[in-house]
Symmetry: C2
Amino acid sequence: MPDINTNFNDKTVEYEQLLKDFKQLLKKNNLKFTIQREVILETLYNSDEHLTPEALHHLIQAKQPDLKTGIATVYRTLALLEDSNVVTSLSFGAQGKKYELGAKEHHDHLICTECGKITEFVDAEIEKRQHDITDALGFKMSDHSMQIYGICKECQEK
Amino acid sequence: MPDINTNFNDKTVEYEQLLKDFKQLLKKNNLKFTIQREVILETLYNSDEHLTPEALHHLIQAKQPDLKTGIATVYRTLALLEDSNVVTSLSFGAQGKKYELGAKEHHDHLICTECGKITEFVDAEIEKRQHDITDALGFKMSDHSMQIYGICKECQEK
DNA sequence: GTCGCTGCAAAGTCTTTGCAGAGAG
DNA sequence: CTCTCTGCAAAGACTTTGCAGCGAC
């Protein structure tokens, strides 16, 4: 049975931890903790969506209009976060990438081609099988992603 | 002992069939069969690689220098072929997409992040599991793709 | 104070589009 | 002949970079 991974409690504590790790990461690399970086991390954290850089930028501008965060900073921060494995990017058929916080457990994606909704899932058996395959080929897996495309239940009913 | 001649014939027959289907597809949509479109299809067919539009364009220019096929035509033809499900595109972390003929059997991809090499594989158990999952969720799967990223055996040895 | 960060705008990529002439049916 | 295609170049979309001033430490 697929496990659908939606169960996160104690949001505040979790975010504090994430933020703390992020500050530590910055310190370790002689980077600075800035308001912009914090807002980007927080916005990613509070979004359940998979965000494009542009969408993230819009959210931030709406939330912190005074800050005038530039799109370039969003890109730079996302690149930094991706390098540090704090966020993961997905790229679909269309142009551009979408980002999500990678602090969550690993999961795969079901993508509805009708409404664009993305559902996450994890299946232990598939995960295990992937390891078996890479082990057999001498391939050192660092990451993997799986997308299943189709039409979700709701859209079929329409 | 393998019969070389038979192999050759099989290949030729296979390509002829592909070409025939393509012509039919064009006719059905009131589109024209042009030299450029044929060369693009043929080059895709003869390549075992996953090609970027640019790589495909280079191959074509090398093979048919007189034709001066424009990159725009390559993009237009790939879009046409993708719409018609003759080719499939993959997109990775990096910019851009790679295309492959979709006439082949379905398969997943192992991608080396060092050298960019793509290895194909199919695993019946994973395929089955994917169906189980979508069935359980009432999701009507039309397609799926899986990519495993990591470092291939050769690159590890370097 | 130092050195990394930021916003801005300009420059890069990759892809798409408009157009006038070429070519398939 | 008609109507689609093509190559070219220009335009678009998305992302990265250079720079001068700003701000974290």
